[in-house]
Symmetry: C2
């Protein structure tokens, strides 16, 4: 690997392996080359090589078995792109045209409820963005987003008919890296049902979400309502993101 490119070696290796696995270079269950072999082939240290493989293992593309080898356990089509997609990205993946109609945008002082979710002090200025979400021009949900004003001071002048996360990424370098969600099923409220075109009280997905930026700081609090008959939520759960030592995983019995 040429060391002119400032991109970390492990990251480029991970991308290359991901591409080749998804291209079907190995079949499901095939033995992946041994670590020491790849180390020699690419001229990198074992730690670096393992760092590259770790991402693929976490994504479920590879599976390691001590004493036996590393096996290809993908590509499972949508697996590696399952978590933390914005609505726009999610819809695009499913072949639908995502859209949004701005219902309301204004600034206000942060309420205690939102503040506790964001771990900040109540009263801090926030931008509230309320949008009707569309899939192929049909309303599927309403999202009410509370953004810390300090992080996006020009947001009131932006075009928000597309991806909110896209705007945040391009103009404010705000990249969502993690989110906590509270998901429940409940009856659609009168106000929401009117705008979604469903009967009041029909089943809806109610989601509350706190989004964290790449520095692990919360920057957004969202309350959403989605039509139960039009929206399906996909998540990828992991029992702790870190490594699980093989020897202790049973003894400590932690699932975290």
């Amino acid at each position: 690997m040429e060391r002119q490119d400032p991109t970390p070696i492990y990251f480029r290796l991970e991308q290359e392996f991901r591409r080749r696995i998804e291209a079907g270079e190995w079949k499901l269950g095939d033995l992946f080359p041994a670590e020491r072999e790849l180390v020699e082939r690419y001229g990198v240290s074992r730690m670096t090589l393992r760092q590259a493989l770790s991402g693929l293992v976490a994504d479920g593309l590879l599976r390691r078995e001590r004493g036996k080898g590393t096996f290809v356990s993908g590509p499972k089509i949508h697996k590696e792109l399952s978590s933390l997609l914005s609505f726009t990205e999610d819809m695009t993946r499913r072949g639908k045209r995502a859209g949004a109609r701005l219902l309301d945008i204004h600034m206000e002082a942060m309420s205690p409820h939102v503040a506790s979710g964001l771990g900040t002090d109540a009263g801090t200025p926030v931008v509230v963005v309320e949008r009707l979400r569309l899939a192929d021009d049909e309303p599927v949900g309403i999202e009410k987003s509370h953004l810390v004003f300090e992080s996006c001071h020009q947001l009131l002048e932006e075009d928000l008919t597309g991806s909110l996360y896209g705007v945040l990424r391009e103009h404010y370098r705000l990249v969502p890296i993690r989110a906590e969600e509270r998901i429940e099923a409940g009856p659609c409220s009168r106000a929401a049902s009117d705008r979604l075109g469903v009967r009041s009280g029909s089943p809806a997905l109610l989601i509350t979400r706190v989004t964290y930026a790449s520095d692990n700081r919360p920057f957004e609090f969202v309350q959403s309502v989605y039509r139960g008959d039009r929206y399906v939520f996909h998540v990828d759960l992991a029992a702790g993101t870190g490594y699980v030592p093989q020897s202790q995983s049973l003894i400590s019995g932690t699932t975290r």
Copy 2:
């Protein structure tokens, strides 16, 4: 760290830091000791120390800022234990008594639908476990679990009124490490509503799940129905489990 204990050093360090952060030894936003300082204090190499911290960063307990330091960004009460909890564990966290009533258990040949979810061949023997889930003795949901027979050949004789995952862990060394879920809101079916004690058609959370063991192999396919008025689902989403190189995260713009 004494090297008699076979538990990996990084894992013990991670546990110690987690405990001390959760005990409130540092306040939210406090500067965490520098890596090189901890390296010296604990007599470990920097790679090992960083491996310990990485788990805490992924869990949101710590936040790293290049050139500045590592900061404590927790403890956010339930944050670190958000993902991949079994029903029993989840209820226990919330201070409720979890229970289960076995509705049905039998073996059958795997249906094509389940097989496609598990990535196996249809016709493979599976154990089907259908249970009514209780929280403080009140029914909150119905879970229908399909388990690959080969992985748990004695399951029909086990006591399944507690944690199914507990039994799988203790008796079959089957530890769930990852899961993919499909969550939607829909009307409660007639059959389910009778057993859950709600009106037929009332909002319910419908969840389909594929669970993966620690070797990254799918071993369980679950279809669940939960009462919308009694059950809330919590998830922790992450934009890719691996490390995100600081220099490239914006350029490649990947959210995965």
